[in-house]
Amino acid sequence: MKINIIRISVFIFLIFFIIIMFVGLTKNNNYNTKNLVGNEISEFQLISLNNNETFFENNDLINSQFTLINFFASWCSPCRLEHKYLIKLKEENKKIKIVGINFKDKKDNALSFLKELGNPYEFIAKDSDGSVSVLFGVYGIPESILINNEQKIIKKFIGPINQSHYKELVQIIN
């Protein structure tokens, strides 16, 4: 039988395709973030909403004892709700720094949102297509992640932060 390059490459491609699919099936589902608590946060680099030159990285976590990474957007009504707790958290606790990740939002809308409700954030990162948030295992907002200065994830809040979450947060910090 003659060797037919086209046929062989078709088969090779298909075998490759199917192997990838099998690997994809058996892979751990990264979207499940329940097991993240207690783990070290992976390496990340956030780009500022205001300009493309300011960054927030793992090293910046050392500067404060605790960091709360909060995912928000102007279009998200539960985010409005939790906002007052974030403001309170910032005003009443010196040991914590809040970093905001602006999820799938327009810059102008985000800025007017903060103008209206106040800005609790030390740093605001942009994530216009939601890809940065996926790295943190976040695909719906609001969600917040509490990290200590050893880069360990202490707690994850899914949904808006409320009174009892706030108390819990203050307890952990102090």
Binding site: M21, L25, S77
Partner: protein, 629 residues
């Protein structure tokens, strides 16, 4: 009881499939032209049992028989009867049973309706089809049995997802399934054709009607799905380029290509291998779509409860299908020289196929690439509308022009005698385009091109129709209707996309807001108690300042109890010229409500033009029946 009955009828179906395969092989050795009666009987018995097992499941749903795990997990005594029934296929196990029923149904219909074709070919088709049936029956019985029983028997079920309680969605899966699973029959027929050497025109004749039937159902299924998304999901869009929606587009592109090229095979006896490949591809893509959706490898709004063992099974079966069909294809592949004149109908159809394959490939990459990237580099990306818009939309422009010219060209050799008409129509389209431009406002260069080409197609098809009516050539109608429908579809989507008004604001009871040409009043807020949900209904008065018309809109927030879910029901006021779309969502612990307002011009015409496309296809099927008699 029902559990035992369901399982035994499924096991019997499996045995019957194996018997059909066995007797068909026996019958192959006998060289006469009639298939023995026994095979007909077995097939009839097989289809009866399959339908019976589907009915058993539906009865279990109607009676809320929670001794079946499947019913317990997906139903509830408080559901309305209609949704209890549709709940039977609104979940993975039940929909797979529906899938098998359709496989068997098509196997039976193909056997009885194709008696004028060669015996060997028919028997091989039956054999291959029954291999598919066996494969899927094993899948059902091993990994997703809808008749698994539960003990002790719970008194109440876990409920059906309220988003799925919608009439459009109740018929969406059956339509789509007839479309997707219907492809199986010409997958089997193509394999049979390769093995038995029954090829060319006769083969094309035998599969033509089946291709059209499944094409109509697929198209209709996709339309109904997007109508559901528009009315129910409450985002105001109708196509989101969601990976699962895209997975349903893949077989549609392949089948649309096939539907065109099969005519070339029938009339000109050429492109045989290409038609075979498309037959194989269409069903393979349908199964791949099922794999992508059911295995949980994609994350999307459609995600069913995912289970890796199911994924592994379908993927193994899919690989078996792909490799066995490819090996059979290569073994029987005969190089045939295709001679096609550049100016002929067959050339236009070939170009249509290139476009279809291009669209298919684009969407395929869009689905597969993120998975590949995730597996190989752990990077997560999401491929969304921008990708598809950039790659697909520019190509639609020439596609529309060719769609207008193609149907009127002649087989073998065509002379363009009416260049004059072409130019005139082209100019007319440009003029109309600029009229739209000046009346409604500006848009981009690409949109101009889209409008010009779609208007060109619309006028061209309209003139063709007029000429056909004058000449009384009835045979040409279906194609012209479908092409006209496609032109209208692109045109109205374009208009809708460019001239929609969207506003997002917060209002509390008694307040009003002015924007653009509208003024909206939040008048009252009522609580309503329904059979299976509570509803908070807002009443809004919308005044159009320009023409002083008033509309009343009542969006709802529904609270379903089993399981506890909130859904936002849009209030949609449909008119011939536009849809007004209003959703309201509560802001917890605040008296404000978030209001999303949309003014979407010519929305209903998108559905109408899509239905015109299907109308064309289905009139061809019915028309053909008449011609043959």
């Amino acid at each position: 009881m029902l559990s035992n009955f369901g399982i035994s009828s499924l096991l019997l179906t499996l045995t019957l499939s194996l018997m059909i395969i066995y007797y068909s092989f026996l019958d192959l050795r006998i060289s006469n032209q009639t298939i023995r009666k026994k095979i007909y009987k077995l097939s009839l018995f097989q289809i009866t049992l399959t339908i019976l097992s589907l009915i058993t499941l539906v009865v279990a749903y109607i009676n809320s028989d929670f001794s079946l795990t499947n019913v317990y997990e997906n139903s509830h005594t408080a559901k309305p009867l209609f949704y209890k029934i549709s709940g039977a296929w609104g979940n993975h196990e039940g929909s797979l049973l529906l899938w098998i029923t359709i496989l068997v149904l098509f196997s039976f219909l193909f056997l009885i309706y194709n008696s004028n074709h060669e015996k060997q070919y028919r028997l091989y088709t039956l054999i291959f089809q029954n291999f598919l049936i066996v494969g899927f029956l094993f899948f059902l019985l091993l990994t997703s049995n809808p008749f698994n029983s539960l003990f002790p028997i719970p008194t109440e079920g876990l409920g059906l997802n309220p988003i799925l309680q919608d009439p459009a969605l109740a018929i969406h899966p059956p339509l789509l399934y007839v479309g997707f699973v219907g492809c199986s029959i010409y997958f089997s027929a193509a394999m049979a054709s390769l093995v038995s050497g029954y090829e060319g025109k006769l083969f094309a004749k035998s599969i033509k009607t089946w291709v059209r039937i499944s094409w109509c159902f697929q198209t209709l299924g996709i339309i109904v799905g997007s109508i559901w998304a528009y009315y129910e999901l409450g985002w105001g869009g109708f196509w989101f380029w969601d990976p699962v929606e895209n997975a349903s587009l893949l077989p549609w592109f392949a089948i649309s290509a096939l539907m065109h090229s099969v005519i070339v095979l029938e009339k000109r006896d050429t492109l045989y291998s290409w038609v075979i490949l498309l037959c194989l591809l269409t069903f393979t893509l349908s199964v791949m779509g099922t794999f992508l959706v059911r295995s949980g490898i994609l994350n999307s709004v459609h995600t069913f409860a995912s289970d890796p063992t199911r994924g592994t099974y379908i993927l193994s079966f899919l690989s078996l299908m792909i490799f066995s069909s490819l090996i059979i294809f290569y073994k029987n592949y005969k190089k045939n020289f295709v001679q096609i004149n550049l100016q002929s109908k067959e050339f236009y159809i070939l170009v249509n196929n290139w476009f279809m394959v291009f669209f298919l490939f684009t969407v395929f990459i869009g689905i597969i690439y993120p998975i590949f990237l995730d597996v190989i580099t752990q990077a997560k990306i999401s491929v969304g509308p921008p990708f598809y818009n950039i790659i697909i939309i520019p190509l639609v422009v020439p596609f529309l022009f060719l769609m207008a010219i193609g149907p009127q060209s002649k087989w073998i050799k065509h002379r363009h005698t009416n260049l004059y008409k072409f130019l005139l129509l082209f100019l007319a389209s440009i003029v109309i385009n600029f009229l739209i431009y000046f009346i409604f406002g500006s848009y981009s260069l690409l949109s101009n091109l889209i409008f010009i080409s779609s208007i060109f197609l619309i006028i061209h098809s309209a003139i063709d129709t007029y000429q056909l009516v004058k000449k009384k050539v009835k045979f040409e109608y279906p194609r012209i209707i479908s092409h006209l429908g496609f032109g209208l579809l692109v045109f109205f989507i374009g208009i809708n996309h460019h001239y929609s008004i969207e506003k997002d604001f917060n209002l509390k009871l008694g307040e009003n807001k002015k924007f653009d040409k509208y003024e909206i009043y939040f008048e009252t807020l009522n609580m309503e108690q329904h059979n299976n949900y509570k509803a908070i209904v807002g009443s809004f008065k919308l005044i159009n300042i320009k023409n002083n018309s008033i509309d009343f809109l009542n969006p709802e927030i529904r609270i379903y109890s089993n399981p506890e879910t909130l859904t936002y029901e849009a209030s949609i006021e449909t008119k011939l010229t536009k849809d007004i779309y209003l959703t309201m969502s509560n802001i917890t612990r605040s008296e404000y409500y978030n209001i999303k307002f949309q003014d979407k011009p010519f929305m209903i015409w998108i559905w109408i033009s899509a239905l015109i496309i299907v109308l064309g296809g289905s009139s061809r099927i019915l028309g053909n029946k008449k011609n043959e008699n």
